[in-house]
Amino acid sequence: MSTSSMSTSAATVRPGPAPASGDMSAAARARSAAELDAAARAAVVRARRVRDARQVGVILTLAALCFCVLCVSLSLGEVKIPVLDVVRTLIGADEGGDGYIVTSIRLPRALTGVLAGAAFGMSGAIFQALLRNPLASPDVIGITDGASAAAVIAIVGFGLGGYPVSVVAFVGALVTATIMYLLAWRRGVTGYRLVLIGIAVGAMLSSVISYVMTISKVYEARQALGWLTGSLNAKSWDTVRPLGLALAVLVPLVLLSGRRLAVLRAGDDVARALGVTVERSRLALLLLGVALTAVATAAVGPVAFVAFTSGPIARRLVVDGEAAILPAALVGALVMTTSDLIGQHAIPSIDFPVGVVTAIIGAPYLLWLLAATNRTGRGG
C-alpha cells in the first residue's frame, strides 16, 4: 500500500507459465493461489466495511450535529429557553409554559431550514455527480435564477406575495431546467455542455431580474430583494408541510437511484456497458434534482451556495469517490441551520437573512475551487 508498490508492481512478473513458477509443485501452486484468493477477498471485504462504517459514522455524526444546532436555535430568542426544556418539548414531554414558543414559533422556522438545506444539499450533490463537475450545482448553472426571475416578475409585475410567489418560483425553476436541457440536447446531454448553457441561461435571467428591479417601485423592490436573498423569517407550518411532503416523496426516490448515479459517474459508455439506461436515468435524476431545488427555493428563496458547497464537503467526509448523496443532504441542513443561527444571534439587534451568511461562507469556497481546479488542470 506504500508508494513504492507503484514502481515495483510495474515490473512485477505475473504468475503463469513462466519459468520461475515451473519448479513449484502443482499442490503448492494451488495452495498459494487459494491463499491469494483468500487474501484478496479479505481485502475486498475490509475495504467495503471501511467504506460502510465511514458512511454510517458520517451520517450519524452529521445528524447529531444537526439536532444539536436545531436545539440551540430553538432555545435562543427574545425568550431564552433552556436547551433541556427544548428537548423535552420536542419529545412531547414538556410541562407547559414555553412549549408554545418552541413548537409554534421557532420550530417551523428551524424545520424549514433543515428541510430546505437538505433539499439544496442533495440537489447539488446529484447535479455535481451527474454532470461530473463541481461547478454544476443548480445555483451556479442558473436553475435557481429561473426561480428568482419568475418570483421577481410575480412580485413586481403582478403584485403577488406569499404563497403564490412560491408557486411561481417553483414553476420558474422547472421551466428553466427544461429549456436548458432542450438547448443542451445533441443526441444526448453531456455534462460540460449543460454547465456552459446553464451559466449562459443564468446570466440572461440575471439581467431579466436586474431590468425588472429597475422598473419596480420601492416597496416592491424591497420585497423582491428580500426574496432574492433567501430567508427563513416568518416561516410557519404552512411552509413546512408542503416542503416536508415533497421531500418525503423525492428523497426516497433519489436514494433508490443512488446506485445508478454511482455507475453513471464512471462515464456514459461504462454505465451503458454495465446495463444502465443512460439517457433515461440521467433525465430522471436531473428531474429529481431540479424538483428538490425548486421546492427548496420556493420555500425559502434562492439561498446562495448551500447546494454548491454541500456535495464537496460531504464527499470529503466519506471515503473518496462516492457521490455521498445522503451526507450531502445532512451537510446542507447543517450549513443552513448553522448559518441561520449565526445570522440571527451573532450580532445582537441585527437579524441577517440566512442567504447573506451562506454567501459569506460560500463565496470564498468558490474562489478556492476555481483556483484549485485550475492548478490541477481539471477545469472541466
Binding site: M1, V44, G267, V270, L274, D320
Partner: protein
C-alpha cells in the same frame, strides 16, 4: 500459441452482426457489415485509423444502435433485450474510460457488479468473491485501497480490465486495451486476456493497433477498411502483403514471427529499405 493449424469455424457464434450500418449523426462509419464472433476464441479486429473498428465494437456491444441491420446475442436482437440482462452476458471495456475523481480501486472494480444487483440488494459475499477474483487475475490486489487517480497508466488499465472481469461475463469486448501502454504492459494485458480465454473459455474480442501482436494473439483476425471487412479468418491464412497494402495503404513484407511463427508485418517506408526488401507484389 496454437493458432497455426486451427480452422476458424464459426458454426456457433453467440454474438454476430447482420448487415449492420452504424452512424454518428449523418456520418456513416460502418456500412452493411456482417460479422460472426467465434465463441470461445480470441477475435482481434485490426485496421487503419478511422476504419470503423472501434465503432463496430461499440455496435456489437450495443453502445451504439445500428441505423439498419441488427446485432444478435444468443439469437436475439441485442437491442430488444433489457440492457441489464445483456450486461450480465457481455462486458465491454470502452476506449480510455475516465474514473470518478478519487475513487478507490476496489470501489471501481465493484461497479462491475452493477448488472447483478437489484433495486434493493446490496453487495453481498458473491460480489466480494467476484471482485476479489478480478483483482487477483489482473494482479491488482495490492492496489485495492489506493485511489485510481494515483496509478500509472498500466495499473489503471489493469484496474479497468478488472472492473470488466468483475462483471463475470462470458463475452468480453475490449477497445484498444493496450493504448498508452509500453510494450511489456501490452504483452502483459494480452497474456492476461489469453489466460482468461484458455482457462475460463471466455470469448474475447479485442480492437488492436499493433498488427504483429494482433497476428500473434488472434485465433480469428478481422481486417477492416472504410467500414467494411476486407478479410476474416486465421491470421496465417489471411495476412499477406497484399492484404497489408489494402488495409493499411503501405507496402510491407510479411515474414514468420521468430517467436510465435505467426505472420509478422514489416512495413516498408520511403527510406531505409534496400533492394532485397522489395515485396513480392507492388500496390
Amino acid at each position: 500459441m496454437t493458432t497455426g493449424g486451427s480452422t476458424t469455424t464459426v458454426a456457433q457464434a453467440r454474438l454476430s452482426g447482420q448487415a449492420v450500418t452504424l452512424r454518428y449523426g449523418e456520418r456513416e462509419i460502418v456500412k452493411d457489415l456482417s460479422v460472426d464472433i467465434p465463441t470461445g476464441r480470441i477475435t482481434v479486429i485490426v485496421g487503419a485509423n478511422a476504419c470503423g473498428k472501434s465503432t463496430l465494437l461499440r455496435g456489437l456491444a450495443r453502445l451504439l444502435a445500428p441505423a439498419s441491420g441488427a446485432v444478435y446475442l444468443d439469437g436475439k436482437d441485442i437491442h430488444s433485450l433489457p440492457t441489464k440482462a445483456v450486461a450480465a452476458k457481455l462486458g465491454i471495456l470502452p476506449q480510455s474510460p475516465a474514473a470518478p475523481d478519487g475513487i478507490r480501486v476496489v470501489d471501481l472494480v465493484a461497479r462491475g457488479r452493477y448488472p447483478h444487483q437489484g433495486w434493493f440488494r446490496q453487495l453481498g459475499p458473491g460480489d466480494d468473491a467476484a471482485v476479489a477474483r478480478a483483482l487477483v487475475v489482473t494482479d491488482t490486489v495490492e492496489l485495492a485501497s489506493r485511489s485510481v487517480d494515483e496509478l500509472s497508466g498500466g495499473q489503471r488499465q489493469r484496474v479497468w480490465i478488472a472492473m470488466t472481469l468483475a462483471q463475470g461475463t462470458d463475452l468480453l469486448l475490449l477497445d484498444e486495451p493496450t493504448t498508452f501502454l509500453d510494450v511489456s504492459h501490452q504483452v502483459d494485458v494480452l497474456d492476461l486476456l489469453t489466460d482468461l480465454n484458455r482457462q475460463e473459455g471466455k470469448t474475447i474480442v479485442i480492437v488492436l493497433h499493433d498488427l504483429n501482436l494482433a497476428c500473434r494473439y488472434a485465433d480469428h483476425l478481422i481486417a477492416m477498411r472504410s467500414g467494411a471487412v476486407v478479410a476474416a479468418g486465421d491470421a496465417s491464412e489471411i495476412v499477406t502483403e497484399e492484404l497489408v497494402t489494402t488495409v493499411f495503404g503501405i507496402r510491407a513484407r510479411v515474414v514468420p514471427d521468430p517467436v510465435s511463427g505467426t505472420p509478422m508485418v514489416v512495413p516498408i517506408g520511403r527510406y531505409h529499405a534496400d533492394a532485397s526488401a522489395e515485396p513480392a507484389v507492388t500496390p
